[in-house]
């Protein structure tokens, strides 16, 4: 079934409606279940694993809190009274039943690309999940964002309703990857910086801050993006939660846990091939020369080297090579070289526990150093790490560490 799924989907978009509309077969529902996994619906709509899709996950946005609604077939509190057309309008236009506007925390700007067959199968599957009575107050935004009509203007500026069109110049696999990345996977929702309105702006996949974590650059840039990763390494990351550079933590841990560890190999390789090809990027802006590393004589680099050997090298090793499968390699690590240091500062201060998967159950933790390293020391050690073993990036300022420390303490 896995192979069949991978090969057939790109063609499916072109099938006439009549072939599948007549009946809802088991395989359509199963296909819809897999689409719900690809789309990671559970990430927002499942707060309690024992009551799937009954809503309740709170999303902290720059504009306020939104809570994902109940999408089980419960008639009062879920989608029980919706028709397929209502669901389709929500997915493709961002319009809920009765005509109200959804907020784009629901990634309809991505889902609009879904071919109708996929939307219908997903709907068929959602009809089969256990109805749960759970009344969710979705809109908890403050005025004026609480007025849903503001989304009309937002949509006009930030949203194009269109179905995914395969690029005839590209292979089926790249097209499948494009569809998964741009639509169901909605990678850009986290990895593309948002403009002041919260819409996905330029610098596609260049990395963005979400929920206090930095979703890193996933362009093919070899220094700060994932261009240094092989297809196998990218697939390993998405499927098992870790590779030699990194373990998924923060919101990406949820993504691996609920979604990508369950994707087929074919789909994961399609995604890897598409992302590493740069095919989805409009310009070559990502292909920048890396900066020169700071000198070993830099005061922060020098202080940081001592801290690194005392505190870090036991696990990450003295040459920054790490230990495969347990301690991430820091040398040539795009997250280390990235422009935004918030995740780096965060893991040193607060520690981090990556996702445990069946393939990699260990979930080795980064301990917290908040209690025994000062802001200056953390800034120095990160500056050292960012400018050693082939890494090169701007110094980290103690002020940034202080800000993160304050933000974490307030959490």
């Amino acid at each position: 079934m896995k192979t069949l799924m991978g090969l057939s989907l790109t063609g499916v978009a072109l099938l006439p409606l009549s072939i599948w509309a007549a009946s809802t077969e088991y395989q359509d529902i199963e296909r819809g279940r897999y689409i719900s996994v690809l789309g990671d619906c559970a990430a927002c709509h499942t707060a309690d694993d024992s009551q799937p899709f009954s809503g309740g996950v709170a999303l902290e946005t720059p504009f306020g809190t939104l809570v994902a609604p109940n999408i089980t077939p419960d008639p009062e509190t879920g989608l029980g009274r919706w028709r397929y057309e209502d669901f389709k309008a929500a997915m493709t236009e961002g319009i809920g039943k009765g005509g109200y506007h959804l907020y784009p925390a629901m990634p309809y700007p991505s889902y609009t690309l879904m071919p109708e067959k996929d939307i219908h199968d997903l709907w068929s599957y959602l009809q089969t999940v256990t109805p749960v009575e759970n009344d969710v107050e979705a809109n908890q935004l403050p005025f004026p964002f609480s007025i849903r009509q503001v989304m009309m203007g937002w949509n006009w500026l930030n949203f194009d309703e269109k179905t995914f069109e395969p690029d005839p110049e590209q292979s089926d696999e790249i097209n499948r990857g494009a569809y998964l990345v741009e639509s169901l996977g909605h990678c850009g929702t986290c990895h593309t910086p948002r403009n002041f309105m919260g819409g996905e702006g330029g610098d596609k996949f260049a990395g963005a801050t979400i929920e206090g974590w930095y979703a890193p650059n996933i362009t093919p840039n070899a220094h700060i993006g994932i261009g240094g990763w092989s297809e196998d390494e990218l697939v390993e990351y998405l499927q098992t939660g870790g590779n030699r550079f990194d373990f998924a933590s923060g919101p990406m841990a949820d993504e691996v846990h609920h979604s990508s560890q369950h994707w087929t190999d074919d789909d994961l390789y399609a995604v890897a091939r598409y992302l590493l090809s740069g095919a989805g990027l409009e310009s070559d802006d990502w292909d920048r020369e890396p900066p020169e590393p700071l000198s070993e004589d830099n005061a922060q680099v020098r202080a940081g080297s001592h801290i690194y050997f005392d505190r870090c090298s036991g696990c990450h090793t003295s040459d920054g090579g790490g230990e495969y499968g347990i301690f991430p390699q820091l040398a040539s690590n795009p997250v280390v070289n990235g422009d935004n240091t918030s995740s780096l500062i965060r893991v040193v201060l607060a520690g981090s526990r990556p996702v445990a998967t069946d393939a990699k159950p260990t979930a080795p933790a980064m301990p917290s150093f908040a209690w025994n390293l000062s802001d200056e020391e953390i800034a120095s050690v990160l500056t050292f790490v960012r400018n050693s073993w082939g890494n090169a990036a701007a110094a980290v300022s103690p002020g940034d560490v202080a800000d993160m420390r304050e933000a974490l303490t307030g959490e």
């Binding site: 036991g314 696990c315 347990i326 069946d358 990699k360 159950p361 260990t362 080795p364 301990p367 917290s368």
Partner: protein, 588 residues
């Protein structure tokens, strides 16, 4: 009264090495398993943070990882003429608590027992004559043999990632390994750790003297290792905070670093922590275990019915649970009838300290199980004719790390406080090493475990009472092996040596070893053993009691490798034999 819970296929008591291994095997065989653990859930990320784990006051002095004696302890005496008193601070041994058990704070030394050990009585009678074993020793065969044990040792080492160098593969002897070990089906999963200076020096001298030194087998992995359950460990960094500490680097094998991360993800397994088991319940004629009763942290009692009951706690608690649950007949030292509590044994720890002037051992570089050893004077590897004792010890240098509070190596004659003591510490800290000889302890009819008539735990149950002293056999052995060790020490040409053979009587205050064994031993004869070779309780076929409590005596080796192997053996017995005809004793 206890609230009855829905039944489960198997309940496993204790989530240390033995319990975690068995639970995982049973879960993989499709059984629904509930694991019950008296202590907390322990986890490397949460509990053994590298930024805070190297705290000698907290872990070594204040015994953070050990069972609280206020929760449960033992009483002790040397012989039946004395009145036993409770141990209120752990001294002689360090029972663990929580998931991982004592396997969190163990040293990591992972020997396999030698083939002769499993038929020790038969072996000694064959070699030295039918009446050669003195009356004061109750040595026994285990009811199993090397060929049955080897696959399970192999399975345990692959779980733990054990590092070492094979000395004896089935394909032939290997240079550089232990020539006395039983033939192995495969080499160690990871190569030996690199050796610090003191074991290197010891090995050079031992080699010059014609001995065959080998790297001490160690479940501290030497390189990144992913075990068959998919759990990954990182290489040991010789941090020196190992024995008595949890490992922050995922280097020291324990149930929490090798089994539980995979086991806890499986849907048919459930762990209940902070739940202390009160007793095993049986049907009216006592021939079937019906489950267990435990008390949770809020003081509520629960009955967990189960088709199979596995007791895999520490030696002491295994035996106490059998005594309080009236499983088997309590051992009586006067009549020598009864098997529950019989053949309790310990370890005979000896050492020689070496003070040098011209050496710097950098003793803070250490690990619980890095070092070099020789086995020429262990077990029956040397001719005991005319020596007046049986047994021997594993002679080795294993620098565990010289920590700031405890490591005060001062020569005899140094005051115990003041400026001269401080001066002597400075002078000797870096230039002192020691050679240990971890020697056998052979069981005796006078050494046994029973319920204390006076002292009770917080739940009103009698404490376990240890009646133990070193036998003349063991004290003579200690003198002999310590002198052999001192010969090597002198050859290393130090300024001064201090030889410390174990002397009697057993003193429960100084730490000696946590290798307490026996009391519910395995064997082929129900008259002298409590469990058969599958760790299945005689006459209670659905009850399995697993751990070092099954050792009929203790050879000159650390027990954990054998505890792990027995756990796999018990799981194999349940899955491949018991489940084919449930409710019956396994006959093959």
């Amino acid at each position: 009264m206890a609230t009855k819970l829905p039944p489960t296929d198997a309940v496993v008591v204790g989530l240390g090495w033995a319990g975690a291994i068995i639970a995982n095997e049973l879960v993989d065989a499709g059984l629904k398993v509930v694991g019950v653990e008296r202590g907390p859930w322990r986890d490397t990320a949460k509990d053994f943070n590298i930024a805070s784990v190297t705290d000698e006051l907290r872990y070594s002095q204040r015994q953070e990882l050990m069972l609280r004696t206020a929760q449960n302890t033992i009483t002790m005496r040397n012989n039946p003429s004395q009145t036993a008193l409770p141990m209120r601070k752990w001294g002689s041994f360090h029972p663990g608590n929580g998931t991982g058990g004592a396997g969190n704070h163990w040293a990591g030394i992972t020997f396999r027992f030698q083939p002769e050990e499993f038929r020790l009585r038969s072996h000694l009678e064959e070699r030295y004559g039918a009446d050669s074993i003195p009356e004061e020793l109750s040595l026994q065969d285990w009811g199993t043999d090397w060929s049955e044990m080897e696959p399970f040792y192999d399975a345990f080492e692959k779980i733990a990632g054990t590092s070492g160098r094979a000395g004896n593969l089935v394909s032939g002897k290997q240079a550089g390994g232990n020539p006395f070990e039983g033939a192995r089906s495969s080499d160690y999963p990871t190569p030996p750790l690199r050796q610090p200076y003191s074991p290197t020096l010891f090995a050079e001298t031992a080699r010059e003297m014609g001995y065959q030194p080998f790297p001490v087998p160690s479940s501290l992995v030497s390189e990144t290792y992913t075990n068959p359950l998919g759990v990954t460990m990182g290489p040991c960094t010789f941090c020196g905070f190992c024995t008595n500490y949890g490992c922050a680097n995922y280097s020291k094998a324990s149930a929490i670093t090798t089994v539980l991360p995979a086991l806890i993800r499986k849907n048919n397994f459930e762990a209940r922590t902070h739940c202390e088991v009160l007793r095993v319940t049986t049907d009216s004629d006592g021939r079937r275990a019906t489950g267990i009763v435990y008390v949770d942290s809020a003081g509520r009692q629960w009955e967990q019915p189960a088709e199979i009951v596995v007791i895999a706690a520490f030696t002491f608690e295994n035996v106490r649970l059998m005594l309080t649950s009236n499983i088997g007949e309590a051992y009586d030292p006067t009549t020598r009838r009864g098997t529950t509590g019989r053949n309790y044994a310990y370890q005979t720890a000896n050492s020689v300290q070496l003070f040098f002037d011209d050496k710097n051992f950098n003793p803070f570089i250490g690990a619980g199980a890095v070092g070099m050893g020789i086995d020429e004077f262990n077990n029956d590897n040397f001719d005991h004719s005319g020596l007046g004792f049986f047994g021997g010890g594993s002679t080795r240098v294993t620098p565990i790390g010289a920590t700031p509070i405890q490591a005060r190596p001062t020569p005899p004659g140094t005051p115990r406080w003041g400026s001269r003591w401080k001066r002597a510490t400075v002078d000797n800290y870096a230039s002192t090493m020691s050679i240990g000889c971890e020697a056998s302890n052979y069981s005796s009819p006078n050494n046994y475990l029973s319920l204390d008539p006076t002292y009770r735990d917080r739940l009103g149950r009698p404490l376990l009472r240890i009646t133990f002293d070193f036998t003349d056999n063991d004290l003579r052995m200690a003198q002999y092996v310590t002198e052999k060790t001192a010969e090597i020490a002198r050859r290393m040409n130090p300024r001064e040596i201090v030889a410390s053979p174990r002397i009697g009587p057993w003193d429960g205050r100084p730490y000696q070893s946590s290798h307490v064994v026996g009391g519910f031993v395995m064997g082929a004869d129900p008259g002298t053993s409590s469990v058969n070779k599958y760790l299945q309780v005689w006459d209670v076929p659905n009850l399995f009691v697993v751990g070092a409590s099954a050792f009929p005596q203790n050879p000159g080796y650390n027990p954990t490798g054998t505890v792990g192997a027995l756990a796999f053996k018990a799981a194999d017995g349940i899955i491949n034999h018991y489940l084919r005809s449930p409710g019956e004793m396994i006959s093959t």
